[in-house]
């Protein structure tokens, strides 16, 4: 139907020439034909999810409560974040286009269901939508989002929210309490084809109450120290957009972006499949001038070009087609391809920055599948850990920029693991372990064999082509301990499928984490997720003791208890030797053209590695852009800028 509307609006603009009349009548005849056939089809599929949702609320009255303002507890203390400092730059300028890149075209614009967890979700959801409350990324305090005030229930499991009546979706519809009910209904519904989310939401989000259109409360299963993240992290879903929600959810909502409460939308005409996507700033965004949101998300447009190869991105960056090169951290780029004495840097066109952040690190590690023959033997796993020379890789290949990761949960400011250290490279200890497992003789290549003539050889599967060098060094070093690795670099989708289905022997990869307060162990170590496809228990760990600890951990109510249990869990993970930590870096780097400006101090303390643009703190200085582009032609230079921001560097970094 959209084409038809488009056509008529076009006609309205021009005069009706005879030629046009002919064309119009032809098209009209065609459209009538089409419309009549469409009408039949649409009549069959047009639905209204409203009544179904209402019926669902009634049927689940233990979760969906309707109350009156009089039912609100009397002694609530309302917080509104008035004492929380802002973190954006007051001198930021609005406008301009931020030219950036994405490695792959997204497979969908949904953020729920299959294929929705790709890296593009960052632009749709993670860095876009506004939740009830938001976390101040320097202090860890909370400030208003869609809620203008919030209060905590006395049970430690409930939060109350006063919704901001100013909050609107990008299509102009106001956000109301009903939208939170609807969101919970969708997250629990089978339409989204996402049983994991269904389960978690159904089990943990135990209740939601509407007092009036602008007051709600939400309950969590347990009392938690980070309740603000959990319940304050709830976001509404627009019922008017999901009116036709049904079994065809995946197809129907595949390429339309949900109206958002956030600053950017994707217009249908800005979606150029396989090539690029443009984000446009919502006109008159409701939060534009609010505290904590002003001077942020300053670019009017964000142009995301699909560039599949990092080296090509780098070339595009050097040409000035890409404003910011976020993958500059590896020594190859930082020291060799864009050294400090590079003309672009020396002439001050491109600025280089090192920023020490405090965030959980991506867990680069070997994930050993303990369900595989030989690898089910703990001695062999420990031997592999001792035979893996990540120390050399960190020191020589990454030139000491990387340090050894000690546990899979490094980087949580409030949950340290003193005393747990990754096993260092040691041929003797590895040989000792392999000997315990019966591998004592070396063959003509120097690889260990057991009494049955079996060689000590395993395959490492990885989805990352860029880790080829790392793995070849690992392989060569492991041979010293009589261990042979076969390197299997697969296409990303294929590799993740293989690893998800637990067909790997050893996987080399990293899991990304956001900035939660404490690590999550259930996903990766709970026994019910072991030996099953599509779960994150990549080591296939089955350990009843661990299960007990995780159960207790998930219900822990204070940070002290969480710390105590996390330490026990990490110790068990260490003892199990199925997770071999590789490396981490305490900082990230960025290279950007001089027209990209940053707040004083560059970025925020809790910023995710290599995402300096998250949170929209940067802005584009159009004048500086013109000046720089002219200077490139005329040869004019500016003072070079190579800066290190270590205000958030911690003692152990």
């Amino acid at each position: 139907m959209k084409n038809l509307l488009h056509f008529f609006s076009e006609c309205g603009r021009g005069a009706l020439t005879p030629h046009r009349v002919l064309k119009l009548s032809l098209v009209a005849a065609l459209t009538i034909l089409l419309a009549s056939s469409c009408a039949k089809k649409e009549a069959a599929v047009t639905r209204d999810i409203g009544p179904e949702a209402e019926a669902y609320y009634k049927a689940h009255s233990d979760v969906f409560h309707f109350a009156t303002p009089a039912d609100l507890p009397k002694n609530l203390v309302w917080h509104d974040g008035h004492d929380v400092p802002e973190f954006s730059a007051p001198d930021a300028k609005r406008g301009g286009t931020f030219n950036f890149w994405i490695p792959d075209f997204p497979r969908t614009l949904r953020y729920l269901g299959p294929d929705a967890t790709g890296s593009f979700r960052f632009w749709l959801l993670d860095d876009n939508i506004i939740t009830l409350t938001q976390k101040q990324p320097n202090t860890g305090q909370y400030f208003p989002g869609l809620a203008k005030a919030w209060a905590y229930g006395s049970d430690g499991k409930t939060m109350y929210f006063k919704l901001d009546p100013d909050a609107h979706y990008s299509d102009g519809v106001q956000v109301k309490a009903d939208d939170y009910f609807f969101a919970l209904f969708v997250l629990r519904s089978r339409y989204i084809n996402d049983p994991y989310t269904n389960n978690i939401v159904t089990e943990r989000y135990t209740g939601i109450t509407k007092y009036d259109d602008y007051t709600i409360s939400a309950n969590y299963r347990d009392s938690k120290p980070d309740l603000d993240d959990i319940l304050g992290g709830l976001a509404p879903m627009p019922e008017h957009f999901y009116k036709e929600l049904g079994d065809d959810y995946l197809q129907r909502y595949q390429w339309t972006m949900e109206p958002t409460t956030g600053p950017y939308i994707i217009k249908p005409e800005d979606l150029h499949k396989g090539s690029y996507i443009d984000l446009t700033r919502v006109p008159n965004w409701w939060a534009s001038d609010k505290r904590f949101y002003r001077h942020r998300y300053n670019a009017d447009r964000i142009h995301l070009e699909v560039i599949r190869d990092t080296d090509k991105v780098f070339e595009a960056f050097k040409r000035g087609d890409v404003d910011l090169f976020d993958k500059i951290t590896p020594p190859k780029f930082w020291y060799d391809k864009l050294p400090n004495n590079d003309p672009l840097v020396q002439k001050g066109y491109i600025h280089k920055t090192v920023f020490y952040n405090q965030a959980p690190v991506p867990t680069w590690a070997l994930y050993i599948n303990t369900a595989m023959p030989s690898l089910d033997n703990r001695d062999i796993r420990e031997g592999i850990a001792y035979a893996s020379n990540f120390d050399l890789i960190d020191h020589q290949y990454y030139r000491g920029d990387y340090v050894r990761m000690q546990t899979g949960s490094d980087g949580y400011a409030e949950v340290p693991f003193p005393g747990i250290h990754a096993r260092p490279f040691s041929v003797d200890k590895a040989l000792e372990d392999f000997a315990k497992a019966g591998f004592t003789k070396r063959d003509s290549d120097g690889i260990l064999m057991n009494g049955k003539g079996q060689r000590l050889s395993f395959t490492i599967t990885t989805p990352y082509e860029r880790m080829r060098d790392v793995l070849t060094i690992l392989r060569e070093e492991a041979r010293k301990a009589g261990l042979d690795f076969t390197i299997e670099i697969l296409d990303q989708t294929t590799a993740f499928k293989k690893i998800d289905e637990k067909h790997h022997q050893i996987a080399f990869m990293a899991m990304n984490v956001g900035i939660p307060k404490y690590p999550d162990y259930r996903q990766e170590y709970y026994s019910t997720a072991a030996n099953k496809p599509q779960t994150n228990n990549f080591t296939n760990t089955v350990d009843p003791e661990m299960d007990k600890l995780i159960d207790a951990y998930d219900r822990a109510q204070t940070m002290d208890e969480i710390r105590r249990l996390a330490l026990q869990l990490e110790q068990r993970i260490y003892d199990n030797a199925a997770f071999i930590p590789a490396f981490e870096q305490p900082f990230y780097r960025a290279g950007y053209w001089r027209w990209i400006k940053w707040p004083e101090g560059f970025n925020v303390r809790f910023s995710i590695d290599e995402y300096p643009y998250a949170g929209g703190l940067y802005w584009i200085d159009e004048d500086a852009k013109k000046e720089t582009l002219n200077a490139r032609n005329s040869g004019q230079t500016f003072p070079p800028e190579i800066k290190v921001y270590d205000q958030w560097k911690t003692a152990n970094q």
Partner: protein, 348 residues
């Protein structure tokens, strides 16, 4: 199986008289011979070690842990370090290393120096090292061996399949020819590069698998030529005479027709080889070839092009490729000239 007829022999003589082509042929044969004994020229294992009055020849024998030579480690002896050690000790022990004392897999890291390192005669990295500190010359040399093994096997398999099917189609003709020809047309329309890429990204191919896939989609080319020339030869009097004398199909094809159409296949051979080398290099370049850390030219080119600040990587691979492909092309040209039918065909 069959004797070369006098005409073919004369063609070969003529090939020998074309200096550039024949010279290239000898050089290539020399390189092939060298690569057959690559371990003696390029490798980390010493050729001879004299230790405490005993002689050791580690190249082709069992692995010697460091402890065999009084070192404190149980992994493979580092013969370069051993040589330095024996040099300073002067107990009459000595080590003879290959001219390039590195194997194509080992990463040599020097404290404070980060790979890739430029060519250095003192380190005996004659063409420098790559991004993980592996010797470029060693990788080139072993990469050459693998490329040649690949392309020679490719040649044999493609020709056996192509000639057999082409001759059969030409000789039997009729419905068999008609059906097979259609089947081949359909088969050769499958976009083979995509198939290789898809298979390589799902499985990690080894030499045999890769060879299998490539041959599976390449044998058809040869059938076209063989089919037409067999058709031509089949109609000749000598074939009819053989048939009258009671020769069977197999004998006619292999003893009579094949020697006469063979010159055609010979002229194609060098180009098939250069095609196979290019193909393997291209696949490796794209990351769909042999799995790492197999030494390969494509992988070196890929490394080189993404590290243009280390020009020795890309230029080594580039010149190696240019030299080998030129040699093969010179041979090809000479063969084509020697086998030119305008000079030698005799019509009855």
């Amino acid at each position: 199986m069959f004797r070369l007829d006098p005409i073919t022999r004369r063609k070969l003589q003529r090939f020998r008289s074309i200096k550039r082509g024949y010279g290239s042929f000898l050089v290539l044969c020399g390189l092939l011979l060298m690569s057959a004994f690559a371990e003696l020229l390029v490798g980390s294992r010493a050729l001879i070690v004299k230790y405490h009055g005993h002689y050791y020849f580690p190249t082709y024998t069992a692995f010697h842990p460091g402890t065999d030579f009084g070192e404190g480690y149980s992994y493979e002896t580092n013969y370069r370090k051993l040589k330095e050690l024996f040099g300073t000790e002067a107990h009459g022990d000595w080590v003879l290393l290959p001219p390039v004392p590195y194997n194509p897999y080992e990463n040599s890291f020097e404290e404070g120096i980060y790979p890739p390192t430029p060519p250095s005669f003192s380190q005996r990295h004659f063409l420098g090292t790559d991004t993980t500190g592996r010797d470029v010359l060693a990788r080139l040399f072993y990469g050459f061996r693998i490329a040649m093994i690949f392309s020679l096997l490719f040649l044999v398999l493609v020709y056996v399949a192509g000639i057999a099917m082409g001759c059969a189609m030409g000789y039997y003709g009729g419905a068999f020819d008609l059906i097979m020809q259609r089947a081949i047309e359909i088969w050769s329309n499958i976009p083979f590069l995509y198939i290789v890429i898809i298979i390589a990204s799902i499985l990690t191919p080894n030499l045999w698998l890769l060879l299998g896939i490539v041959v599976l989609f390449s044998w058809t080319d040869m059938t076209y030529y063989m089919r037409t020339s067999t058709y031509k030869e089949k109609a000749r009097d000598y074939v009819a005479a053989a048939r009258v004398l009671g020769a069977g199909s197999g004998r006619i094809i292999f003893r009579h027709i094949l020697p006469n159409v063979l010159s055609l296949t010979v002229t194609f051979m060098p180009f098939t080889i250069s095609g196979a080398i290019t193909l393997l290099t291209a696949l490796d370049f794209l990351g769909f070839g042999l799995p790492p850390p197999t030494p390969s030219w494509g992988e070196l080119l890929e490394q080189g092009t993404s590290n243009l600040n280390a020009p020795w990587i890309v230029s080594s691979a580039f010149f190696a490729l240019v030299i080998i492909l030129s040699l093969v092309t010179f041979i090809g040209e000479a063969i084509r000239e020697a086998f030119d039918p305008k000079k030698f065909s005799i019509y009855q």
